[in-house]
């Protein structure tokens, strides 16, 4: 359930060009999800060296261990709590955490995308969804 408040909305606010950078992050999360579903969660180990974001790396390792549900939510949110972030870094972290929670539940990548796209903002989410679906169609065509 969405539980917004004014302070949160303020901290999530960032420039449009920054929001465009969400696309690759969401795509990366979807790729990890796809790999976990196809090859097993422990196969994500091979992805760790290429993950630059420390939170994403930590989150993937927690997911591999099987930490799930509220415990995973609280642990990831703690990493958010201990650093004063706002604007783009905060938005990026929120998207990463929500993506990791979807990964832990082995969500279908399309469902994961639908959970993450609202972070683009209502007006941009549809266009971003179309872009991701087009990329998926291209992948299927290959």
């Amino acid at each position: 359930m969405i539980q917004w408040n004014a302070d949160l909305a303020r901290r999530l606010h960032c420039r449009e060009e920054e929001k465009k950078r969400l696309g690759p992050i969401i795509k990366r999360l979807m790729d990890l999800d796809r790999k976990a579903r196809a090859e097993g969660f422990l196969s994500l180990e091979s992805e760790l060296p290429s993950i630059d974001d420390p939170l994403l790396a930590v989150g993937v390792r927690l997911v591999m261990e099987g930490v799930s549900g509220e415990a995973l939510e609280e642990i990831l949110a703690t990493y958010l709590l201990i650093e004063e972030r706002s604007g783009w870094p905060f938005l990026k972290t929120c998207v990463t955490i929500e993506g990791l929670l979807a990964l832990a539940e082995s969500d279908d990548p399309a469902l994961m995308a639908r959970k993450l796209l609202p972070y683009f903002g209502a007006d941009k989410a549809l266009a971003a969804l179309e872009e991701i679906e087009k990329a998926q169609d291209d992948r299927n065509a290959e």
Binding site: L8, G40, F41, L55, E65, E74, I75, T78, L80, F90
Partner: protein
């Protein structure tokens, strides 16, 4: 937006002013709590003993609250009321939050690995590897207690079928979450645990096994059966969404042709014959076979039996979960075989014998 993010964003904490030395000390404190959590699994007095000998005020109060049986929300309130959050001292404030989080995990019976992860998260990603090393060491030292309590049900069969393609079993386990999976596995034979464990890595596997062992002694048989039903519900939901790659014989839905043929055959069998065969048949077998029949066949069977037999069969149905196609067909074929023998001995009409033989020899 997930709830924990909203709470975390409200509950800000600036750890940049906390020294490395303080963080190292807090890591040791988290490790102490991890050991207490591990010991509490085998000794109910471990937390009270730790509280009695603890010198750090926040941890002592937290342990006392957990030892007194406080649940998570009551613990939060009690902890905040007993010790004011020291917001003017970043190090003390970090300790306050770290201890409160650990106590929440302890009160929720979390595995020591999860408690360690949640506490060391306050120290930042830099401490993740250090926690990993500590957990690997503890995991190697821990004593595995392979034992099983088998709650009657079909989950072990379903797990065996899912494990034929590990992706299926993994998807079911992940979609359920490790807590539910552990509760469901608590009522399964060791074989089921052995199939699930390798999907989590060393630390996760140890947590799954320890949690199942603990839940086996903490939950009642009914509660474990409920967890198993919930797990099977997840499996069915995944199957309905096309998320599992099952062969036709492993699908949970029955083969419509088999259901129609079995129903027609059962309706054609004399009530006395049904009574003679079903009276001695195992309840679980009948309940499973009846998953492959239409309701009118159920009525015909139950209408042929005594009240006592009806109760026995209905109880077995209550305890049964939806089964894979191969199990339902196997039970139907076995009962048809027994009916065939009884019908042949009673010199039943040839068409009845042919129908029963057709079910008995149904190709799967």
């Amino acid at each position: 937006m997930i709830k924990a993010i909203v709470e975390a964003s409200r509950d800000r904490l600036d750890t940049r002013k906390v020294s490395r030395q303080k963080k190292d000390a807090l890591f040791e404190l988290a490790a102490r709590v991890g050991i207490i959590a591990e010991q509490s699994r085998s000794s109910s007095m471990a937390i009270a003993r730790a509280a009695a000998s603890e010198r750090r005020k926040a941890l002592k109060v937290g342990l006392e609250l957990v030892a007194a049986g406080a649940e998570v929300e009551a613990l939060d309130r009690g902890f905040s009321a007993s010790i004011e959050r020291p917001s003017s001292d970043p190090g003390a404030e970090l300790e306050w939050m770290l201890v409160r989080s650990g106590m929440r995990g302890l009160a929720a019976y979390e595995h020591f690995s999860v408690i360690m992860r949640r506490m060391t998260a306050f120290l930042g990603p830099d401490y993740f590897d250090k926690a990993e090393d500590w957990l690997m060491y503890r995991t190697k030292r821990r004593k595995s207690r392979p034992e099983s309590l088998v709650v009657p049900g079909e989950l072990p069969d379903v797990i065996r079928i899912l494990a034929m393609d590990k992706r299926n079993l993994e998807r079911a386990l992940r979609a359920s979450g490790r807590d539910m999976a552990a509760a469901a596995l608590a009522g399964c034979p060791q074989e089921s645990m052995d199939l699930a464990r390798p999907l989590y890595g060393k630390i996760g596997a140890a947590a799954l096994e320890d949690d199942a062992a603990q839940l086996r002694s903490r939950l009642s048989g009914d509660e474990i059966a409920q967890a198993q039903s919930a797990f099977l519900e997840v499996v069915r939901s995944l199957e309905e969404r096309g998320e599992l790659r099952l062969g036709p014989e492993d699908e949970l839905s029955a083969d419509p042709a088999f259901v129609a043929a079995l129903t027609k055959t059962v309706l054609g069998v004399d009530a006395a014959l049904i009574k003679s065969v079903f009276r001695g048949a195992e309840g679980a077998l009948v309940a499973t076979a009846m998953q492959g029949m239409e309701p009118e066949a159920h009525d015909h069977i139950l209408g042929s039996l005594s009240k006592r037999e009806i109760k026995r069969i209905l109880d077995a149905i209550d305890y049964s979960d939806p089964l894979p196609r191969r199990a339902v067909q196997g039970a139907g074929k076995l009962l048809a075989s027994r009916l065939f023998e009884a019908a042949a001995a009673a010199k039943a009409p040839r068409p009845i014998l042919e129908h029963l033989a057709a079910i008995r020899d149904w190709a799967t």
